[in-house]
Subunit: 454 residues, 2 copies
């Protein structure tokens, strides 16, 4: 629309950040340490070494502000980074808002989402440590796709435990991982003790993320040549995602803009942390933007959960993490944003939320798909349902700006495309999507499973 | 890999071409004119005006070298153009070739392919002419998706006749068109005389592109407020696609490269024409690259067809075009590259092939998917099966360069991504894809339906 301001603000490859930003250098309060799930002792590097390589454990515990990105990772980043920052001219026009809306688009990655930023880093460090195979779990399929491609680049075998119902409902995701060379195992499987136990009780069990995590961790822990890779929640994953916010800051500077509010969807918290944390130092200096994490009302971890130690999985195999949680036994209803159904949250996000540095909002699914459809028809990009949570919140901010007559600058992260989520759009267009809001009583019952910490 | 040479060669929005290039200004022999299908008289603008707006008819017949791109179209181009040119470092390494392989990636368009380049232009000119509705047909779904999005931007009703079997096999494509606001009608339908005739004979008929074209044209011809839009074959569509080659030339200049060979897949011929024709003036001046159109062995229009007047559709409603054709009654076997199953070809491509200015190759489907999978695992991008025909030919060139020890520069057009084609990949990985090569006798029989021209 404007002659002067570009629609896409592009950096060159030489402008890809050379270092990841580590929020742990700047937090007023560091998150409490993970605990061994059996002993409840503080988990040290040796506890994690069974399934993670040394370099990633170091990053997990590091308080260094900047961590150098290895050349081999930078070389792969060049396939899609720097990702574009868009000015949403057509969405602004449709909303008739004085707000300036910018979005960072991570869906340009070959895997279709921000997940590849960490997947290539994790594959690299595992390869360097002499590992031959990586296991992981996937629900929505975004992380599994990213790790499949990353393992392919470093000649690692990749074994993805995919929630059985997802492997049936999303056959395209499964095929894509197989094209990239991964082995996809519908979970529960009979390859692990965790899987066999579930199948013994219920041979027709359609799986859950909790069971898939247990299976992937069990396989990794039982083999010397095999490690486990997690696509969210942990500190090192948040660190890798910081390239999103670092680039976005530089791109906004190119058009002399600075955000009043930064928005991202929040499941495990790493796409939110990725775009928002590089703004935290400004925030702590009293001049930064509002930082808003957006979660589904059907899985309201930050807005209705408790800040407590909890397990990461149903089988209680993972370390206990201090985080906002709905309880590890929380069973989210079948909302379509599969990537936002996790009961817990990143300990870094949780601590910053607890300390009042970031905000959280819960949004209804019908509002999310309404926003997603408007976005597709204006900006042309079909967003992933997860990412559309951020769009929904950004539209709300833009409408408020209109009411107030403010020229607010809004930045949100469009974490991925929705090319493999069209069944969900179909359900929305045919009126089959329902909203879920949990009562206090339901949440209280769900939290009853939280472990007692001695 | 190289420190100096970027992986992605990027232009800025100000570098989007301001004019389309029209090959008709430079052809040694212009294509013969279209004929009225009933009278066999030369079809004039009035014959076409029933279903096309005046500006597009002018472009169809223009011999002006440069046609200005309207501001409204340029404004939409900014959503994804200029598209990136990639140096395929990782594919080159896997092939261990001295060749330098470049590919222009049109899959970054919101519709996922080059088709949007013409769709937004066609929607614009129709809107300007006061048209309220556009009809079209779609098989693979690429064109229908592009026109749906383009109509949405110009507030035109969009009615897509989708080959029934495709609408069943590709429900995601149908959903995406609906998200963009189009009405998708499985063809044959009972909304048109052409559809009713087919259904009367065979109520379970699963449709064909020929029938879908007949239905879309019939609806457009029968209503004042409605026109028809075609995504391939015609001259004005080729003209709109010239932005691909114009940008690619400028991008190669940025890295001081000039191609020895330019490659694209060829169905109706517009993606090939788009990337190749801007190089024809150099070619005519004796210094240009080889220009190679790649078609499936199962639908070998250029390599085994006849240069003759033929109908564009089965119901013989479209004008007769002088082109390479396998006969309008040719029934291609069920190969997966749905976009390359057309019996005919662009008259511009056909004339240049007849005059020896461009080359053609036919490739086997298993070779195509082998190339596609190697490409996905090296460059990270899952190609559309259509586009993978170009990859297959580019790999052959790179292997020949290796044998000859030549540092050949190869440019190919990656016309779209394959996110909606994973069923085809699945079939390839599970060994269900077969190669088809036609004998001379079969082609001769197929050509028997060619009309006699008085």
């Amino acid at each position: 629309m404007s002659k002067e301001h570009p629609t896409k603000i592009l950096l060159q490859e030489k402008d890809i950040p050379t270092h990841w930003y580590n929020i742990q250098a700047d937090m007023p309060n560091l998150p409490e340490p993970p605990l061994n799930p059996a002993t409840q002792e503080v988990a040290g590097p040796q506890d994690l070494a069974v399934i993670f390589p040394e370099e990633l454990i170091k990053q997990e515990m590091s308080t260094e502000r900047w961590i150098e990105i290895p050349d081999e990772v930078l070389d792969l980043y060049k396939l899609w980074r720097p990702s574009p920052l868009y000015r949403a001219f057509k969405l602004e026009k449709a909303l008739d808002t004085p707000a300036k809306i910018y979005y960072k688009y991570e869906g340009v990655s070959p895997a279709g989402s921000h997940k590849l930023n960490s997947a290539v880093a994790q594959a690299y460090y595992n390869k360097k440590a002499g590992i031959k195979r990586l296991t992981t779990e996937t629900g929505a399929g975004q992380w599994g796709t990213a790790l499949s491609l990353a393992c392919n680049y470093f000649d690692l075998e990749c074994r993805v435990y995919m929630v059985k119902i997802s492997s049936i409902q999303k056959p395209y995701r499964k095929s894509l991982m197989e094209v990239f060379g991964a082995t996809v195992i519908p979970s529960p499987s009979n390859l692990t003790e965790a899987g066999r136990q579930v199948l013994a009780k219920d041979p027709d069990n359609l799986g859950s993320l909790g069971t898939a995590i247990s299976e992937a961790v069990e396989e990794a822990a039982s083999r010397e040549d095999t490690n486990y890779a997690l696509g969210s929640v942990l500190n090192h994953v948040v660190i890798h995602q910081s390239v999103i916010g670092l680039e976005a800051k530089a791109q906004l500077e190119m058009v002399d803009a600075y955000p009043d509010v930064v928005i991202a969807c929040c499941g495990g918290g790493t796409n939110f942390g990725g775009v928002a944390f590089p703004f935290v130092p400004d925030k702590l200096a009293g001049k930064g933007p509002r930082l808003v994490a957006v979660e589904p009302a059907a899985c309201p971890t930050l807005t209705q959960g408790e800040f407590a130690y909890d397990f990461g999985d149903l089988a209680k195999l993972t370390p206990l993490l201090k985080m906002y949680t709905l309880g590890h036994a929380f069973m989210p209803p079948g909302i379509h944003a599969g990537g936002l159904r996790y009961h817990g949250d990143s300990p870094l996000v949780s601590q910053l939320y607890h300390d009042g540095i970031i905000e959280a909002q819960a949004v209804l699914q019908t509002d999310v798909f309404k926003a997603a459809t408007l976005f597709a028809k204006t900006e042309g990009i079909l967003p992933a349902p997860e990412s559309a949570h951020a769009i929904s919140a950004a539209i709300k901010e833009a409408n408020q700006a209109k009411e107030a007559g403010e020229e607010k600058v809004i930045l949100f992260n469009l974490s991925g495309h929705g090319h493999f989520d069209l069944t969900a759009y179909d359900n929305y267009l045919s009126g089959k999507i329902e909203d879920v809001v949990h009562g206090e009583e339901f949440i209280k019952e769900s939290l009853a499973c939280l472990p007692e910490i001695k």
